[in-house]
């Protein structure tokens, strides 16, 4: 097991560097010139030759003329930066946001909390509903309840999340007025930070987005759980277990369920990544102060250091997700431990 975990860790670190390099290279395609931007206000006062000389010097100081790989290493914090010390991503320096005029780290801490909060809520809610529902449908395959759920679940995974949001907004906000339409807190509310009221207000505001996200992920997950459970129930060892006279509960939850869990775990990875991607849409639709909203703002204002940092966040989330899946594979399936 230890060797297996180590192997996966090494692999993930490599993938992280590959992706981050790709992202960095991609950003360097953008025709921006920070040196020129910094010098532009002084342009009127300088003579042309002086301007060019200062421009060249500034480019050199900023290290803009260096090779892409060197700049990447500097940005990452693998080699020494321009000020002679390691100051990059690995040291916690995520750059400076031009839009918000403050370091990216400060800018993203609050939205990051919100996004993780929303996604964890939605994940727990979705898994809590889909797993029992899928198992129940698989056991009662072909019954009325199962067919109804199957038909409904097609709706769930066919409709884009923003259409679901609009429908829910119509009913829950406009028609019934249960939830607020937008925002992540009541405007101008004077709560003490960390107080109970603040938390309640936050939950009140994120309730509808979480409901929408849960609903959107119900369809696909339920179907997945159902089909892998059906597959497990159709195997020979289940027939054997039944022939032995085991109670149906034991057959389902002990024999079939454990084996069905394996493909389900795989699908959770894809779904978990999807839910972070989906929160970009949700946060924009509901105007929540989260990573997705910030990302959208950053892309629209071409604030690329900010965008790059958030993109790294998404990448890390997906990598950690895949690591967790691999580890849980190891726990659930003994064959993995033995073979690798």
């Amino acid at each position: 097991m230890g060797k297996y975990v180590l192997k996966r860790l090494v692999y993930i670190v490599i993938v992280f560097f590959v992706i981050s390099f790709l992202m960095y290279a991609l950003y360097n395609l953008i025709p921006t010139d920070p040196a020129r931007a910094q010098l532009e206000p002084m342009r009127q006062q300088l003579k042309p030759e002086e301007y060019i000389r200062m421009y060249k010097q500034l480019r050199k100081e900023m290290g803009l003329d260096d090779h892409l790989v060197i700049r990447y290493a500097r940005w990452m914090g693998i080699i020494k930066g321009l000020k002679g010390k390691f100051d990059g991503l690995l040291q916690g320096n995520f750059g400076y946001s031009q839009t918000f005029k403050k370091p990216v780290v400060q800018q993203i801490s609050e939205p990051m909390k919100n996004t993780i909060f929303i996604n964890i809520f939605a994940t727990i809610a979705a898994l809590g509903i889909t797993l029992p529902l899928g198992v129940y449908c698989a056991v009662h395959k072909g019954k009325k309840f199962d067919t109804t759920v199957q038909t409904m679940s097609i709706l769930g995974y066919s409709l884009p999340i923003f259409i679901i949001s609009l429908i829910f907004m119509y009913f829950f906000v406009v028609r019934w007025g249960i939830f607020p339409l937008m925002g992540s807190k009541t405007p101008n509310a004077a709560y003490e930070p960390g107080s109970w009221e603040e938390f309640v207000d936050k939950v009140y505001h994120i309730a509808l987005p979480v409901i929408v996200m849960t609903f959107a992920s119900l369809g696909g997950m339920t179907r997945y759980v159902r089909s892998s459970m059906i597959e497990a129930l159709g195997t020979d060892y289940i027939r054997t277990a039944r022939a032995k006279g085991l109670r149906e509960k034991v057959v389902i939850y002990s024999h079939a369920w454990r084996n069905a869990l394996l493909p389900i775990i795989t699908s959770i990875l894809a779904w978990f990544l999807g839910i972070f991607g989906g929160s970009v849409i949700i946060e924009n639709t509901f105007s929540l102060n989260g990573m997705g909203k910030l990302y959208w703002t950053g892309l629209n204002t071409l604030d690329f250091e900010l965008v790059l940092a958030i993109q790294m966040f998404y990448t890390v989330v997906s990598l950690i997700g895949s690591l967790l899946i691999d580890l849980s594979y190891g726990i659930v399936d003994p064959r993995v431990r033995v073979n690798k």
Partner: protein, 623 residues
């Protein structure tokens, strides 16, 4: 064996050769069935049978084909105009009643005042009716005709963009509708004239964009309303000398009592409207009319002269075999009543407003003609009415006054095209890489699978947004559409690749592959000509499901503003900005219709994909 026996039966021998030939050629199928009771069906046939046995799948196919047909053929009939912007038709709800005169009025029409999207009419008893889209704001509705208007004995009515004016036989002037922009604020001289009755024998009542005019028999003109974008002034020398007026969008012109045309407003200097053709200054003008940006004058000999900003074909008058007696202007078109009782319409025909039906162009029995912005009403001699022009928008209009139906149909074409091409790209990449990995295995497999893990590990939506933002900023809308196709294709091949790889692993151990290898067939040919056809059925299922996914992703990107940019419509960007309560509640047609058709489309594709998968699954036939 059975065939032999059958041929030997005496019954058979009696048949003529012709009959046998007929049986063998035309009814051969029946013969074979008879001879081989155990019917062997091709796998394809079994799949088709299974597939069509599923009601949901058939439903999906039918509805999807219908949507596809609409989306493919529709754009040829509902042409998209990207620069379309019609200020007077913003946020019109789904309607078909803009020219629907109430039943109570049929045959008893005395006067009609056509507005922008509505009409107001008076019947012979002086009762007022309204029809069409009369709602101005949430509170104001022109349908709510005040009691004093309903009770009065009306002489004249006029309807503008958001208000209506009525004059009763006692000379009392009433305004209703939107009155927030001083539509009901009469000028002091009007108040005086109304009180004294002097110079208050109104012969013409006009209403335009938040402005109105009343013309006295003695040539005295009263103008009132919103001054901010209308030339409401009257030059002193013309006052008392005006015979008729016509409203443009922001100006008006007058026909004087001496038969000349004049720009009688005060902002006429340099305006194209004050460059009146010489023929209309000879004292022989009998009628004038105006559209939004052009004017027309009719002379005694029946000739029409146009001036102003002639941009929408307002001066392209057809050949006429009779003399024009009356001319009326809409927003971008003219209609004229001829001496022989026919009607001609010309000018802009976006809403069929310049396409008069044969009944009025050749019938020769038109008595009266009323022309609104985009509507025409012709009253026949027998009291019946004929209408043509804009009757409404079946799916409403958006914030630029564009027809939602046209945008949904054209948007569907873009979304489906992008989805289809993205799937094709993804499938090609997935098949090549998956095939190579699955067939060769070993190092090739490891390298390709690592690549696919990296690509599959990228968070999809954020990454597509970045690519679109970084590369797309330098592209024009068409190139951007291609970019989105390529981005979606490049990011979504992983699933296909894994599927093909797994299939190839299973197939390459089969005998036919060994046989092909033994015959010395090139490996490329083995992969693509021998193995691939066996994988194709599963590939078809995954392509169908991926098609729905690609459409969803495209629409999501467009919804977020990183896909295909406006004004090119797609099913995604039609919903951009729909997440505010005003649109959700009041302008519901702006999100309900795109959402419904898009939802239907993806649901149907998923139903088809599910049906195909079930039909191809050998396990499902066993059950």
């Amino acid at each position: 064996m059975s065939k032999k026996m059958k041929n030997n039966t005496p019954k058979k021998k009696k048949r003529s050769t012709l009959a046998r030939w007929f049986r063998q050629t035309v009814l051969r199928k029946h013969d074979i069935d008879y001879d081989n009771p155990e019917v062997i069906e091709t796998p394809l046939k079994i799949v088709a049978q299974n597939f069509f046995a599923k009601k949901t799948a058939v439903f999906g196919v039918v509805v999807f084909l219908l949507i596809l047909l609409v989306v493919l053929i529709g754009p040829y009939f509902f042409k998209l105009n990207l620069g379309e912007h019609e200020q007077t038709l913003i946020h019109v709800p789904p309607s078909n009643n803009m020219m629907k005169i109430p039943k109570e009025m049929h045959g008893r029409i005395s006067d009609i005042a056509p507005g922008t999207t509505f009409g107001i009419g008076v019947d012979v008893d002086g009762k007022v009716y309204s029809w069409g889209h009369t709602r101005v704001t949430e509170r104001i509705d022109l349908k709510d005709i005040p009691d004093e208007v309903q009770e009065a004995d009306l002489k004249m009515i006029a309807a503008g963009m958001d208000h209506a004016v009525a004059l009763d036989t006692n000379g009392k002037l009433m305004v209703w509708g939107n009155t927030r922009r001083s539509q009901a604020r009469f000028t002091p001289d009007m108040e005086k004239a109304q009180k004294s009755g002097k110079n208050w024998n109104i012969v013409q009542l006009e209403a335009g964009m938040q402005v109105s005019a009343a013309l006295d028999e003695g040539g005295y003109l009263y103008l009132w309303g919103n001054r901010s974008n209308f030339d409401l002034g009257i030059k002193r020398e013309y006052q008392g000398n005006i015979a008729k007026i016509a409203f443009m969008a922001n100006e008006y012109i007058s026909l004087l009592k001496d038969g000349n045309v004049a720009y009688t407003g005060i902002k006429g200097k340099g305006s194209p409207f004050s460059k009146i053709p010489d023929e209309l200054l000879q004292g022989k003008t009998v009628d004038i009319a105006a559209t939004d940006r052009t004017c027309a004058g009719l002379t005694e000999d029946g000739k029409v002269y146009f001036w102003g900003r002639l941009e929408k074909g307002e001066n392209e008058m057809p050949e006429i075999d009779s003399k024009i007696v009356k001319i009326e202007g809409g927003r971008f078109h003219y209609s004229a009543l001829l001496e022989n009782g026919n009607v001609v319409s010309w000018g802009n025909n976006d809403y069929n407003q310049a396409k008069a039906p044969a009944q009025v162009t050749t019938g020769g029995n038109v008595k009266e003609l009323y022309v609104g912005n985009f509507q025409n009403y012709a009253i026949l001699e027998n009291g019946e009415h004929v209408t043509w022009g804009l009757s409404g928008f079946p799916l409403g209009t958006d914030n630029f006054g564009r027809d939602m139906l046209v945008r949904i149909i054209n948007g569907g074409r873009v979304t489906m095209l992008v989805g289809a091409i993205a799937v094709v790209i993804a499938t090609i990449i997935g098949v090549i890489l998956g095939g190579l990995a699955g067939y060769f295995g070993g190092t090739v497999d490891i390298v390709i699978m690592r690549i696919s893990e990296v690509v599959g590990g990228l968070p999809f939506i954020p990454f597509a947004m970045i690519l679109s933002a970084v590369i797309g900023s330098r592209l024009d809308p068409t190139q951007r559409m291609y970019l989105i196709m390529i981005v979606l294709g490049i990011l979504s091949w992983v699933g296909t690749c894994r599927l093909v790889r797994a299939q190839f692993f299973a197939q390459r151990e089969m005998e036919y592959v060994t046989a092909a290898k033994a015959m010395g067939i090139r490996e490329g040919a083995i992969i693509f000509r021998h193995i691939l056809p066996n994988v194709f059925s599963l590939l078809l299922v995954s392509m169908t499901l991926d098609f729905a996914t690609s459409m969803l992703t495209e629409s999501t990107l467009s919804y977020l503003g990183f896909g295909i940019p406006l004004p090119t419509p797609t099913w995604g960007n039609l919903l951009t900005g729909a997440n505010n309560s005003i649109i959700i509640q009041q302008y519901w047609w702006r999100w309900v219709f795109p959402a419904v058709i898009f939802g239907m489309c993806t649901i149907c594709i998923n139903l088809i994909g599910d049906g195909l998968r079930d039909a191809m699954d050998p396990k499902s036939t066993e059950r």
